[in-house]
């Protein structure tokens, strides 16, 4: 019996009872739809975490000057003066797992342009900083090591600051004033949006760290060193080595606390992504239970159908259908039911995930969630619904194939 004829017979049988067919498919439709939807949204969420991870920078290891416990009194991080340029240089030179390191000084100050003013965060860094943070300059150019060496009065400007000071005017080449000192804007930073921790990354000025040290805050130590490890795997060992190096350089005795804090936001975000993945898996497995229920529905209806069509089975057997022809016919019908259901479910699941993603994007600010159409998920859904059809269709089909032709022909 050729497959074309089998398919035609199966499709006709399904078309005969449209309402029943649709209701039977419903379980599979909902099951596949729910799985596709949760997986799509979960993937979207994890993509967004990945995106913000990438946005954060290149395998970042962040060293901040930390609080020191002096005679039982915890001092704020700004009070620690022990993190110095030499440390940053030593980190870059002596720890092979660290690819790049940029010294950093932080400040916050009033910035004035014309009759506009804005209070913003000022970062004093080395040119490597922009590489480490994967933060390209959109227009103009970044400062160089020479401008760091000379503590030049230049700055790069973040998009939020531009909006508030310049409006629609081009900031590059203009001069702004910070604490009454003039700084030339040499570059416009590209927009980085929100950090994973909710800060507006674009609300900033970036200058050579020497400039900030000497002209804005008047210190000779550092507030932080921004490093990037050679790979994601290198982050943890690099942290260990960093701690050892800094303790040695700061001459800390074993019983003394660190006077610095090492953090790796990548790890943090990674953990976040991991818990998201587990959640997705959990939801998807709950959703797949309804696939199982859908399969049982198919089995039920196929059993009814076998009973209803006993006479037809008898006729087919009388004219020469073998048991396996009958088996195949009912199996194909069950698989067709579940696969069509799976296809519809896939479509609906996709539609729902697009809708839900749009809703999430409308409610929450920050970088938009992407809609992820997962090809493996689609294939898996299709194969799985086919498998459900075979598994749950087999028993009724086998029952049909075992009918006695004489009895079947006599059946009323």
């Amino acid at each position: 019996m050729d497959l074309g004829a089998v398919l035609r017979v199966a499709l006709r049988a399904l078309a005969r009872n449209k309402m029943r067919t649709v209701l039977t498919m419903l379980g599979i439709i909902i099951g596949v739809g729910a799985v596709i939807c949760t997986v799509a949204i979960g993937e979207g969420a994890s993509n967004q975490v990945q995106e913000s991870l990438r946005n954060l920078g290149d395998n970042i290891v962040f060293v901040a000057a930390g609080s020191v416990n002096q005679h039982g009194v915890h001092m704020g991080s700004a009070a620690t003066k022990t993190l110095v340029l030499g440390d940053a240089k030593a980190i870059a030179q002596q720890i092979p797992l660290i690819a790049k390191a940029s010294p950093g000084v932080g400040a916050a100050a009033q910035v004035v342009y014309g009759n506009q003013n804005w209070y913003t965060r000022i970062r004093g860094v080395a040119p490597e900083y922009l590489d480490i943070r994967r933060w390209p300059v959109e227009r103009g150019s970044a400062f160089t090591q020479r401008e760091v060496d000379t503590a030049a009065d230049v700055c790069l400007i973040g998009q939020t600051v531009v909006e508030n000071l310049f409006g629609n005017e081009d900031p590059v080449g203009q001069t702004i004033r910070v604490q009454n000192l003039p700084f030339r804007v040499i570059g416009l930073l590209s927009s980085k949006g929100q950090s994973p921790f909710g800060n507006d990354e674009d609300d900033t000025l970036i200058m050579p760290f020497t400039t900030v040290q000497k002209k804005i805050v008047g210190i000779d130590w550092l507030n932080f060193v921004m490093c990037s490890a050679t790979s994601r795997e290198a982050i943890y060992p690099a942290e260990q080595q960093l701690a050892g190096l800094l303790r040695e350089r700061h001459h800390l005795r074993p019983d003394q606390d660190d006077d610095f804090i090492i953090r790796s936001p990548t790890d943090l975000a990674e953990a976040q992504a991991q818990s998201g993945r587990i959640m997705t898996l959990l939801l998807a497995s709950i959703a797949s239970v309804s696939l199982l229920v859908g399969g049982i529905g198919i089995m039920n209806i196929m059993l009814v159908s076998v009973t209803e069509r006993t006479r037809e089975i008898g006729i087919r057997m009388a004219v020469g259908a073998r048991g396996r022809d009958i088996l195949r016919q009912f199996l194909v019908e069950a698989v067709l039911l579940s696969c069509i259901g799976g296809a519809i479910g896939f479509g609906l699941g996709l539609g729902a995930s697009v809708g839900i993603t749009k809703l999430i994007n409308a409610i929450s600010h920050g970088s938009p969630w992407p809609v992820v159409i997962s090809i493996p998920a689609a294939i898996a859904a299709f194969i799985f619904s086919g498998a459900v059809g075979i598994f749950f269709g087999f028993y009724p089909a086998r029952k049909a194939s075992k009918l006695d032709p004489i009895e079947a022909l006599r059946y009323e």
Partner: protein, 273 residues
């Protein structure tokens, strides 16, 4: 007579010749085991039917004729005895092999027509060919030819519900014919039809028997119908009571001419023939 032919297995695939009976049964028994009671439906049937015969099988209900027909139709297997279909011993074949025999060598016509509902006449006729693996185009051609042979050309697209009883039975005959079987088994084919239509159906059987030399076994209750056959076998209590040639054989086309024309379903083709 054909003792050594029966013995030799080489005769298995031999086409029906005058020498080989189409049906040869020897001491056929069928016992149904219903737990406490054993029902002896057939108690030793021995007979043979040659190619080109037209046999009416008669008997009261419970006489064993239906059991006999089921065995001849390869729908069931005997408890004891031999059954040679065209020289092939089919009594011990597996279910799958029996299905293949039914498909290629036997054509069934039932009292209740047994057509697939909501399926066109053409597709109904095509059905046995699907199971013998005939390609689509050849299937269509043979099914059309078969419908034409029973006077239903051009009705291929009609569904059973759009056809009269006589027409439905003719579709069933076309289906029985389509695989060019050795034998047609008709189980009370006129039981649900009025007398004129019954004669029309018998006319088709007679024509197929005469023109194509097709062997026909026909179960009937009605003596009138049995008169169209060439031989009558009477069953009683699981045995053959008598087995005789029909002496005053009726010719359906002649009988038809004497009957008044009723209903609108008369087919010009058929009246002519």
């Amino acid at each position: 007579m054909p003792e050594e032919m029966v013995e030799s297995k080489s005769a298995t695939e031999k086409p029906s010749t005058v020498a080989t009976p189409v049906i040869q049964v020897e001491n056929l028994h069928k016992t149904y085991d219903l737990g406490e009671v054993q029902v002896h439906a057939l108690r030793g049937i021995s007979l043979s039917v040659n190619a080109g015969e037209f046999v009416a099988v008669m008997g009261a209900s419970g006489s064993g004729k239906s059991t006999f027909m089921n065995l001849i139709g390869c729908l069931d297997r005997p408890t004891r005895g031999r059954f040679l279909l065209e020289g092939q011993d089919v009594a011990r074949l597996s279910k799958r092999e029996l299905a293949a025999i039914r498909n290629r060598k036997i054509g069934f016509v039932f009292q209740g027509f047994n057509l697939l509902a909501r399926t066109s006449a053409l597709e109904n006729v095509e059905l046995p060919l699907i199971y013998s693996g005939v390609p689509h185009q050849a299937r269509l051609e043979r099914a059309r030819a078969s419908l034409a042979a029973v006077g239903l050309e051009g009705r291929g697209e009609h569904h059973p519900s759009q056809l009269s009883g006589g027409q439905q039975q003719r579709v069933a005959i076309a289906r029985a014919l389509v695989n060019d079987p050795s034998i047609i088994l008709a189980d009370e084919p006129t039981g649900n039809l009025d007398s004129r239509t019954s004669v029309e159906i018998m006319e088709i059987f007679q024509r197929l028997n005469e023109e194509r030399n097709i062997t026909i076994l026909l179960v009937t209750h009605e003596p009138d119908i049995s008169r169209f056959a060439k031989r009558v076998i009477m069953f009683r209590d699981g045995k053959v009571r008598w087995d005789t040639e029909v002496e005053d054989r009726a010719t359906a086309s002649e009988v038809l001419a004497t009957l008044p024309v009723v209903g609108e379903e008369d087919d010009p083709e058929e009246v002519k023939a």
